[in-house]
């Protein structure tokens, strides 16, 4: 899986890195498909007021919101949250 780069700028909440919506979709697509991933990310972003891109911490909150959904989408979001944390480690 190719690394999706993001700059490691310090954000107001003290976290580093910026994550785009596209990267969040990418994290979910392999397991649930692109269209379901896009829809889930849309819902998650709306739930936590995430824009086109945001801090790593904010992106994690998107995935936490999606993780509350039932079934494969929610489980995939939990997994994706762990993967996102690893990319920035």
């Amino acid at each position: 899986m190719a690394e999706s780069g993001h700059t490691l700028e310090q954000d107001a909440d003290g976290s580093q890195g910026r994550v785009t919506r596209g990267e969040l979709v990418e994290l979910l697509s392999a397991a649930v498909g692109k269209s379901a991933a896009e829809a889930a990310v849309e819902r998650g972003c709306a739930a936590v007021a995430f824009g086109a891109h945001g801090s790593l911490a904010h992106a994690q909150r998107v995935l936490e919101a999606v993780a509350r959904e039932p079934g494969l989408v929610g489980i995939t979001a939990r997994f994706a949250k762990a993967r996102l944390a690893l990319r920035s480690a």
């Binding site: 899986m1 979910l28 392999a30 498909g33 692109k34 489980i75 997994f79």
Partner: protein
């Protein structure tokens, strides 16, 4: 101290097969080997088979699955038992839990319970996941296992089969053999194992949208009942392969379904998802297909199937680095056998050659598990997953 493996293929009724397997193990190992993978056709009911094996090899962790076909490096066999015994400098543990359909996370937790995640001196961890695909949560199980194992997660495995009956599959850990279950085993080694995965399918249809689904049961595609939609989409190509989709009975359709599998649009790649059965006008897959998912229908050529099997083996081999290959377990999708027909033996021998002729044992699965660093999905269809074990001399 190195790691050593030996492969076996035996047939006959369960008691005779078990006796032959034990005899073979005793001839080649001075003591009970640490680990034994056993894959059995419906001709050797797994519970009876494994009970007899464990009665003689009480010191061996036996991980088992019912199968849709069995093979070793010596070739393909049907109606038999294939097995790989592994002994040497490594640690292994295993667990099993039922309830995969109703509580996938609970099942994974229970199967993992009590197993050591870290063993001093054995820094490499590989999990093996065997599961019942008819429970419908294979991708969920693989991802949850990865979440629980953490960043070190490397997972290989397969979904049990039942000789294409699509009625009931079994997985086993020692004497416990269950349906609707998952087996999780942890292998701790000094050097990494190799996990290779490849499929040889490509899409030929345009993409269409799943408009109604209930977990792994796809009910509607583009607003139409799923099976009639699928049937229309594959009619011409199926006819070229000798299938009349309008005359085929749903209970006989599995051979057709496994030739024309679903490809989930996963962004930069196509994720193959196997339809396993027709239920009324709906299609049952091996894992959840979300509503709104975009699917295309895929197909593969014989050459593509052989090439992808070899690629998986080479990838696994490369990950062993300079280590000689001690042996390998191969989780190979039943669709490969269906597509290759009498050329399946060629694929098996090609896998063996790519692994330097080392012992291999494998089975034909209803789905495969592979998840390594950087992977974003753990359950696959139409692939070969090769788990290669290095000998690590000294």
């Amino acid at each position: 101290m190195a790691i050593r493996t030996e492969s076996y293929c035996v047939d006959g009724e369960a008691p005779q097969a078990a006796a032959a397997l034990v005899r073979g193990v005793r001839e080649r190992f001075d003591a009970d080997p640490k680990l034994l993978f056993v894959f059995a056709s419906t001709g050797q009911p797994l519970e009876a088979l494994v009970a007899d094996v464990r009665a003689s090899l009480a010191g061996t962790l036996v991980l088992s699955a019912s199968s849709a076909g069995e093979f070793t490096e010596r070739g393909d066999r049907k109606g038999a038992v294939s097995a790989l015994a592994i002994d040497g400098d490594f640690h292994c543990s295993g667990g099993i839990a039922a309830g995969l359909a109703g509580d996938v996370e609970g099942a994974i937790d229970r199967a993992l319970h009590g197993q050591r995640r870290v063993i001093d001196g054995y820094p490499e961890l590989c999990a093996v996941l065997l599961l019942d695909p008819l429970a419908g949560h294979a991708e969920e199980a693989a991802l949850l296992l990865a979440v629980k194992l953490g960043e070190r997660a490397r997972i290989a495995g397969g979904a049990a089969g039942d000789d294409l009956a699509m009625k009931r599959t079994f997985v086993g850990c020692n004497e416990q053999v269950l349906s609707d279950a998952a087996v999780v085993a942890l292998l701790h080694t000094r050097a990494p194992l190799g996990i290779g995965v490849e499929h040889g399918h490509s899409a030929f249809s345009e993409a269409f949208t799943v408009t109604a689904a209930n977990g792994s049961l796809v009910e509607q595609i583009e607003g139409r009942a799923a099976w009639p939609f699928w049937r229309d989409a594959i009619r011409e190509r199926a006819a070229r392969e000798g299938f009349d989709v309008d005359a085929i009975a749903p209970e006989d359709a599995v051979q057709l379904l496994l030739r024309f599998e679903g490809g989930l649009d996963a962004g930069s790649a196509l994720k193959v998802r196997a339809p396993l059965a027709i239920e009324g006008d709906a299609i049952r897959f091996a894992c959840e297909i979300p509503v709104g998912a975009r699917l295309r229908i895929t197909q593969s050529t014989r050459d593509g199937q052989v090439a992808s099997a070899v690629a998986a083996a080479r990838s696994a081999r490369a990950q062993l680095g300079a280590q000689p290959v001690a042996g390998a377990v191969v989780f190979d999708c039943i669709c490969r056998k269906i597509i290759l027909g009498d050329r399946f033996d060629d694929a098996v021998r090609a896998i063996s050659t790519a692994l330097d002729g080392a012992p291999i044992a494998g089975f034909e699965t209803y789905g495969e598990v592979a998840l390594c660093e950087g992977d974003l999905s753990g359950f696959h269809n139409t692939t070969s997953v090769v788990l290669a074990i290095g000998a690590r001399d000294g």
